[in-house]
């Protein structure tokens, strides 16, 4: 078995009395493409936010390549309100800001595209390399980091060629068509040099042809950059086509996990998506 890249253990995210993610445990292994699916409001993006440090989960632990990046147990007001279990298991508190987690090697894209809107395509990608710089503010201001800057610029151009945006590099990022903006977001995430890439609904708003292109593109970058990919998606064709394994959650809880063929025939998954007739 390959090494576990991302290990999520009993993660619970509770906002006041609302449990958005409930006791979620997952493992993602090196080189896999894993999908997280579930009906709207199931807690998928919240799970992403817990992993990337945007939210501090109420309870649970996340490990990345064997290192604990997030760990928490209910504190303060939450001690009383907490509705989940296994809170004794996590005595430590490990909390990092999102930028630190990105530096460790987890990059992400956003459900509602968040590009740097005043910047060109080129600068969007170049800016994402800021975290790997070795210069400080003085050496950068007085151009003592020329070598590094040039290397970053070259790498940016290379990345843009790979994603097919090199001809548009001087355009404003927000002037690109929607599908290309999504690609640019992926390129920007790749520029942070990640091991694990989290994609939050990368095919949202795409037509079938664009979705197909995206599927090929995700496979391609996995091979080229040696990535592990974890994605949230609603396009079932893409999910079933691309995923090695799938986790399904509903109301924050995992209801199924397995390879695409298993998930397609899982009664609980079908119920969650189509609804169950309570009386029947």
């Amino acid at each position: 078995m390959a090494e576990s890249v991302l290990h999520v253990e009993n993660v619970t995210m509770q906002f006041g009395g609302v449990v958005a993610v409930n006791n979620l445990s997952m493992d993602i292994y090196e080189g896999e493409i894993v999908a997280l699916i579930g009906p709207n409001g199931a807690g998928k993006t919240t799970a992403f936010n817990c992993i990337t440090g945007v939210y501090e989960p109420t309870n649970g632990k996340v490990e990345f390549c064997g290192k604990t990046i997030v760990e928490n147990h209910p504190q303060g007001k939450m001690k009383k309100l907490y509705a989940g279990d296994s809170k004794e298991l996590y005595p430590h508190v490990v909390s990092h800001t999102p930028d630190y987690i990105t530096k460790m090697g987890i990059a992400r894209t956003f459900q509602n595209i968040r590009l740097f809107k005043s910047m060109t395509v080129f600068d969007n990608v170049l800016t994402a390399m800021h975290l790997r710089k070795t210069s400080n503010v003085f050496s950068a201001t007085f151009r003592l980091n020329r070598k590094e800057e040039l290397a970053q610029r070259e790498k940016t151009l290379e990345l843009l060629k790979i994603v097919g945006l090199d001809e548009l590099k001087d355009e404003l990022a927000t002037s690109l068509p929607y599908g290309k903006q999504r690609r640019l977001e992926i390129a920007r995430a790749l520029a942070t040099d990640p091991k694990l890439l989290l994609l939050d609904e990368p095919a949202a708003g795409m037509n079938p042809q664009e979705t197909e292109e995206l599927t090929a593109f995700i496979r391609e970058i996995r091979a080229q950059f040696g990535l592990t990919i974890f994605l949230i998606e609603h396009h079932m064709n893409l999910v079933m086509d691309i995923s090695d394994r799938i986790y399904v959650i509903d109301f924050g809880r995992q209801i199924a996990a397995g390879v695409p063929a298993e998930i397609q025939n899982d009664q609980r998954v079908i119920d969650a998506y189509l609804g169950v007739d309570e009386d029947g």
Binding site: T45, N49, V54, F110
Partner: protein, 292 residues
């Protein structure tokens, strides 16, 4: 303690005046998320109008005229300087407010010739000297907190029970949804500015009774302090603004009382920074979160 008593009385009075200004800030912030930097200057203009009106008109006409003209000024400012920026970023709106403040001060400078206008005809009765617990003061010191509480009670009733008040609350909860629900957002906003300016005018009438003159910069400090009071109480909350204003007023007078007059203004801002850092949403404010 006896020595501090006049300061306590003055503090409560100052608190009442700040409260009347602070409500204007808090109402506007609630709906537009805008620090209306021009509000302090509206307050100053009310003082100026009073000086001019009371010089040529009988008091029974002068006072309503001040209230009406100031409310009108609030309305005009909103329509001219904030309405065109409805969809602009918040920073543009704030810059516009600063621009309006700058404009009002400069226009006032031009019209008054840059000289502080002496308050020659203070409002009778409230400006009489009285003795409270052995301390000499003007009657306005006692009238202010009472009138403030009364007006706030009316305002709270207005926002809770009337249709326009409910529309105001809806708009401050969620601007866009309120609009979709058929609330005429522009008239609600105008109404908010009218109320805010009206109360500032009342505040100005009381405030300048205690002062020998109205200068073009007279609005700046009380304005800023009232804003601090609004933040302190939790911006967007009317009771919060009132409580905050009384606390600020008292603190500032007590600082004077113990002999640090230089710091009476600065102390307000120390309170501000401490409150913002400890509880950024103020005493009664609600928490807002960004969606990722």
């Amino acid at each position: 303690m006896q020595g501090l008593l006049p300061y306590v009385i003055n503090g409560i009075s100052a608190g009442g005046q700040y409260a009347l200004i602070a409500i204007g800030y808090t109402l506007v912030y609630g709906i537009l998320r805008l620090i209306n930097f021009a509000h302090g200057d509206v307050f100053m203009v009310a003082g100026l109008i009073m000086v001019y009106a009371s010089a040529s008109l009988p008091m029974v006409l002068a006072i309503p005229l001040v209230l009406i003209l100031t409310a009108l000024l609030g309305f005009v400012i909103e329509r001219a300087a904030y309405k065109p920026l409805r969809s602009a970023p918040r920073m543009s709106l704030m810059v516009s407010a600063i621009g309006v403040s700058y404009l009002i001060q400069n226009l006032a400078f031009y019209l008054t010739g840059g000289l502080p206008q002496p308050v020659t005809n203070p409002i009778p009765w409230v400006s009489d000297m009285i003795t409270v617990f052995g301390a000499q003061t003007k009657r306005v010191t006692l009238v202010t907190p009472v009138l403030t509480i009364l007006l706030v009670a009316v305002l709270v009733w207005l926002t809770k029970k009337t249709k326009i008040g409910m529309a105001m609350r809806a708009a401050s909860k969620d601007f866009e949804t309120a609009q979709l629900m058929g609330i005429k957002i522009n008239s609600v906003i105008s109404f908010t500015f009218v109320i805010g300016s009206f109360l500032a005018a009342v505040g100005a009438l009381l405030y300048f009774t205690n002062y020998p003159n109205v200068a073009i910069t007279s609005g700046g400090m009380p304005g800023l302090k009232a804003f601090v009071a609004a933040v302190f109480g939790g911006i967007g909350s009317i009771p919060g603004a009132v409580v905050g204003a009384f606390i600020i007023g008292l603190c500032e007078e007590l600082i004077k009382g113990i002999g640090y007059s230089t710091f009476s203004d600065a102390f307000t801002f120390v309170i501000l920074i401490v409150v913002l850092c400890v509880k950024p949403t103020g005493l009664f404010g609600e928490k807002a979160t960004d969606k990722v």
